[in-house]
Amino acid sequence: MFKLESRASPSTAMALASPLIALAVTVMVGVVLFLLLGKDPVQGLRMFFVEPVKSGYAWSEIAVKAVPLILIALGLALCFRANVWNIGAEGQYILGAIFAGGIAMQATPETPGAIVIVILVAGVVGGMMWAAITALLRDRFNANEILVSLMLVYVAEMVLSYLVYGPWRDPQGFNFPQTVTFAKPTQVPRLFSGLRINVGLIVALVAVVGMTIFLFRLFRGMQAQIGGLAPMAARYGGFSSRASLWTALLTSGGLAGLAGALEATGPLGQLTPYVPVGYGFAAIIVAFVGRLHPVGIVFSAVLMSMFYIGGELAQSRMQLPKSITGVFQGLLLFSLLASDTLIHYRLRWVARRTGTPAARAAS
């Protein structure tokens, strides 16, 4: 029989292989799923793994989805490394969009293009403020940050709904719950004509480099992580665990807010109740599949974007429900957590125990 045996030290190879194993398991379960639904599994897999990367246009669409995922997941990686369980990036993302939208609504066609910078900064501030509520409650009253941050997502959704149904509704919008379409100068500049991908991609890649430096080359980043990894060691070293909490939450709130601002003034161009599409939650998976490492996060964000686009394609071309995207995302995280066991344990084949000790001694 197989036996799980604790390894002498965690396996680095397995830490890197684990996401690939998880992907393979996800694909296999996906095939079974397609068969059970009576769909052609080859076509199903094509929707998820071939169609989304077929052309330059397809890649641009991947990037449009990957940018918010990368930005949010970078902040979450810092949080999770610091043992701060920010589950509410979705809410911070919404607040970022609201703050950015509030500024963008004021623009006219004559406003200088530099307003984009103001809009993005506003988004960062919005996300930070939302995360600061969680940080404050945890710091001051030791409130559980998982619950607080998660609950604040729903509050954020309500705030957004209130604004677009109420004071911010477009007077010429036929009573649709939406703001005015933002004026042209607010639009985040696109990188190529004809493709939707914009400078957000560059911002995200700069953030990847920045987070890599912060996590692995700056003392502050190291202190934040030690505060989570070994609180007693942090105290012994004289690092403040409060600083670690605030750094992690403000950084991730700011990045999620930035993602929201880029989304609102990029692909969306106005605020509607449909701003939140679950990037904040999907980014949790992205962060873990990417091993909480900025470079890994780039790859896993691309993968997660493929799931998004594949799900949409499967919906329109194979008449599958849209929730298939969520199923694939869940499968991936589930398989990842399972195969992560092999980082600390290994499977060993042991002969079934025989009755007498002598027989065992002989074997």
């Binding site: 190291m222 030690i226 990894l229 012994y236 070293g237 004289g238």
Partner: protein, 514 residues
């Protein structure tokens, strides 16, 4: 000869990294007190876990009263009449002693019946236990007596004790020995795990010595000397420390009536602690664990910076409210007793771990010069003979002794003016322990003030120039180590300081209350 109570033949157990037991055999007769002697990591604990059914051997045979048995779990061990008292107690703090024992029994007795049986057992063996007191209010020694009474309730034929004296005062050790001798006279066999040679020679009839998982000797300890036992245990005699005459300098660290309320509900309050530590001396603080050592150390290191202003002074500077970083900048370094998780971050490399207390590798804006951290780690590994895979090895991968050498080395290498060390050689093999003690003395000779907190009296006598004792959050007067006797220190450990001192303190306390 009668049938042996316990007979182990050819026991082997392979763990992923080490062979914990390699063809171990031993025999315990009825009524025999049998010592299992070995250094940390020699395989004693694994062997006992095998006997108690907590670990399964890969090979070998276990016979109880002449019958071959397979002990698959502690429950089966109990059925064979085997009971064990672990080094770390498994008692719930919020329950009373009797409730704790009652919970672990499945005999269908009522709480009152169990309490009565406990009191009877305790009376029979001279174990003072108040079964109705909540466990958090019991001292460590009392908790141990509860565990022993619990073990005795199952009327064991074989009682295993794992390092039982590490938490006891010298007097309590003697009363424990009396209990064990009485048990042995009544026919109960005792397996006594220890690395303390004197105790084994005093108490035990037989001794099996383990080294590196193998049996290196089976002797009658009463016929042996400490030196001969130690040769069997480590293969050599530990090197003697050279203790030079202290050259005292200025007062380095001064505590002035330091009082501190406990941080949590189970902490110990520090009360009116005053002491002076001079440059060039080693001051040892003895005491049974849980008497305020943790709290005192945290107040000294700055991890707990709540002390009254003026109550802690470093070279005349008030540091009572300063954090660890500031205290280190002023030359006060600290080695905590927990190595993994406090003295070092388990999952980070040794190079990264240098940054915990050493900031030489930091550049402008907190930029980490990674090459410099690796160089520092490599230097420490080399200078303090740390066995490690190199600067990039994670702290967790080192053995306890080697990690301790690294951490002590990291602090010594920082050229501290005051070094505070908790349990410098706990769980460290004899060779590494001797090296660490030697380094501490060298530091003292170089003019550093050294404060050592330890539960090992032998170690304190060996290292210290002066000794004080902490008991119940209070500090005894100090005594030069050469004038101190085990008896006197033992009395102090029980909280009985000089009468004069006591009255003075009582006066002071009533004064404060008034």
């Amino acid at each position: 000869m009668s049938t042996p109570r316990l007979q182990l033949t050819g026991i082997s157990k392979q763990y992923p990294a080490v062979k914990a037991n390699d063809n171990v055999s031993l025999t315990v007769q009825p009524g025999e007190i049998h010592a299992l002697l070995g250094e940390n990591g020699a395989g004693k604990s694994t062997l006992m876990k095998i006997v108690f059914g907590a670990v399964q051997p890969d090979e070998g045979e276990i016979k109880v009263d002449g019958k071959t048995v397979q002990i698959r779990n502690p429950h089966e061990a109990k059925a064979h009449g085997i009971a064990m008292v672990f080094q770390h107690f498994s008692l719930f703090d919020t329950l009373t002693a009797a409730e704790n024992v009652w919970l672990g029994l499945d005999t269908g007795e009522t709480l009152a019946e169990v309490t009565a049986r406990m009191n009877k057992k305790a009376g029979d063996y001279g174990l003072q236990v108040d079964a109705t007191r909540p466990v958090h209010s019991l001292s460590v020694g009392e908790c141990q007596r509860v565990e022993i009474v619990r073990a005795l309730l199952s009327e064991p034929k074989l009682l295993i004790l794992d390092e039982p004296t590490s938490v006891l005062t010298p007097m309590a050790v003697q009363s424990l020995f009396n209990t064990l001798r009485q048990l042995a006279r009544e026919g109960c066999s005792i397996l006594y795990i220890s690395h303390k040679l004197d105790e084994i020679r005093e108490l035990c009839h037989q001794c099996t010595v383990l080294r590196g998982g193998r049996v290196t000797g089976g002797v009658d300890p009463r016929q042996e000397s400490n030196a001969s036992l130690s040769r069997l245990m480590i293969g050599a005699e530990p090197p003697k420390l050279v203790h030079r005459e202290a050259r005292l300098g200025d007062v380095a660290l001064e505590l002035n009536r330091l009082s501190l309320a406990p941080d949590g509900i189970y902490g110990v309050a520090l009360s009116q602690i005053s002491l002076q530590l001079r440059a060039g001396e080693v001051l040892g603080i003895a005491g049974v664990s849980g008497n305020g050592q943790q709290e005192l150390l945290a107040a000294l290191s700055g991890e707990d910076a709540r002390a009254n202003p003026g109550s802690i002074k470093l070279f005349g500077t008030d540091i009572a409210r300063a954090g660890p970083t500031r205290r280190r900048a002023l030359g006060l370094h600290f080695v905590p007793e927990e190595r993994l998780g406090r003295g070092a971050v388990p999952m980070q490399s040794l190079a990264a771990n240098t940054l915990l207390t050493r900031h030489e590798a930091l550049r402008a804006f907190g930029w980490i010069d990674v090459a410099a951290t690796r160089a520092l780690a490599a230097k420490l590994i080399d200078r303090f003979k740390v066995k490690a895979g190199g600067p990039d090895a994670v702290a967790k991968s080192l053995s306890g002794g080697n990690l301790q050498k690294f951490i002590v080395g990291r602090e010594i290498d920082a050229k501290p003016k005051v070094l505070i060390v908790a349990q410098p050689t706990w769980g460290v093999d004899v060779g590494a322990a001797a090296q660490i003690r030697g380094e501490l003395l060298a530091l003292r000779d170089a003019g550093c003030a050294v404060l050592v907190v330890s539960e090992e009296l032998e170690e304190l006598f060996e290292l210290s120039d002066r000794l004080v004792v902490i008991a119940g959050g209070r500090l005894s007067p100090s005594v030069p180590a050469r004038d101190a006797t085990i008896e006197r220190i033992g009395q102090w450990m029980a909280g009985l300081f000089d009468a004069k001192e006591m009255t003075a303190q009582i006066k002071e306390m009533s004064h404060v209350q008034a």
